[in-house]
Amino acid sequence: MAEVEARGLRFHVQTLGPDDGPTLVFVHGLVMDNLSSFYYTLAAPLAAKGVRTILFDLRGHGLSARPSSGYTPHDSALDLLAILDALGIRTPVYLLGNSYGGVVAMRTALADPYRVAGVVVVEAACGGIVGDLWFEDMVNTLTVAALGLEFDRTQDQLKALGQRKIARLAGNASELLNGTTLIDDLGSGPHLADLAAVTCPVLGVFGAESTLIGAAAELAERIPDCRLHVVSGLGHTVLREATGELLDTVLDWLRV
């Protein structure tokens, strides 16, 4: 199934794996990211182990619709729950969020605790001071990127050079950053989760060299059922560069 209608929007959704068995929903990162970062890494191996995996493009990203507003992590958490409704999935699901997707996953666990069996956070700061600084940094970086894309007409220049792939990435990024309320929504906080209110089991996976490593201790301190795994030698790129280690860690945590 590639298209799902939820909250009045068309979402690109892929499902891999059996119809029964534990269900895990992947949540990708911001702007340049989409479900393909899971499609080519964790989804197929997890599906082969009997996990029903669900991948979706966040609103404004990948092949999902790009409405002009509604880009807070809470909005995306409601999108996720509505997609589960549309798929007819009523049993609790596991969530795995990478980078910004980790924040959306944690917001989902708070929005509807009964539908979330557990959360895997990969390289995300979901609360506390590390999270505040991270959001501030993201908003600043995206604001600068938005201005650059708007004034340089980057995608037109790339298209003229025959660089279709990069031109499309730049064009989509520009439409998301300059044509929607995404930056304003992210800057309008507070968006982070009250970690002390999270009741489900959480697995946190971080790169030892990441600027977000401080978020690991925060998770462990505030969440009663929390397991941590730190990947040595890596920063924010755990999903892509330590796929095998991440997969083994998730399988062990899921006990499948």
Partner: protein, 89 residues
């Protein structure tokens, strides 16, 4: 050109869109990333269309490759896989 390659070229055209493909002739040697400029999310859409058309699931085939290998793949290699998988039924 084999039937599969011809049909595959048509499906690729649907995914890539007509504006870019005017100058590109799709052959066995054409690569998805460098020659067609396909985004990784578009390859997901392509895999979807191939599953619908041939009832061939690419997930197992792709699971053994990382994203760079997948995008560097030639159209001919994908066509060979589809032909083999279709022959196996």
């Amino acid at each position: 050109m084999s039937d599969v390659l011809t049909r595959l070229a048509q499906i690729i055209s649907e995914v890539v869109g007509p504006d870019f493909l005017l100058d590109v002739e799709i052959t066995r040697e054409t690569t998805f990333s460098d020659d067609l400029g396909l985004e990784s999310i578009e390859f997901v859409a392509l895999a979807d269309k191939l599953r619908a058309h041939y009832d061939v699931d690419l997930v197992g085939f792709l699971a053994d490759m990382d994203i760079d290998e997948i995008m560097a793949m030639s159209v001919g290699r994908l066509a060979d896989h589809i032909e083999m998988a279709a022959a196996r039924g």
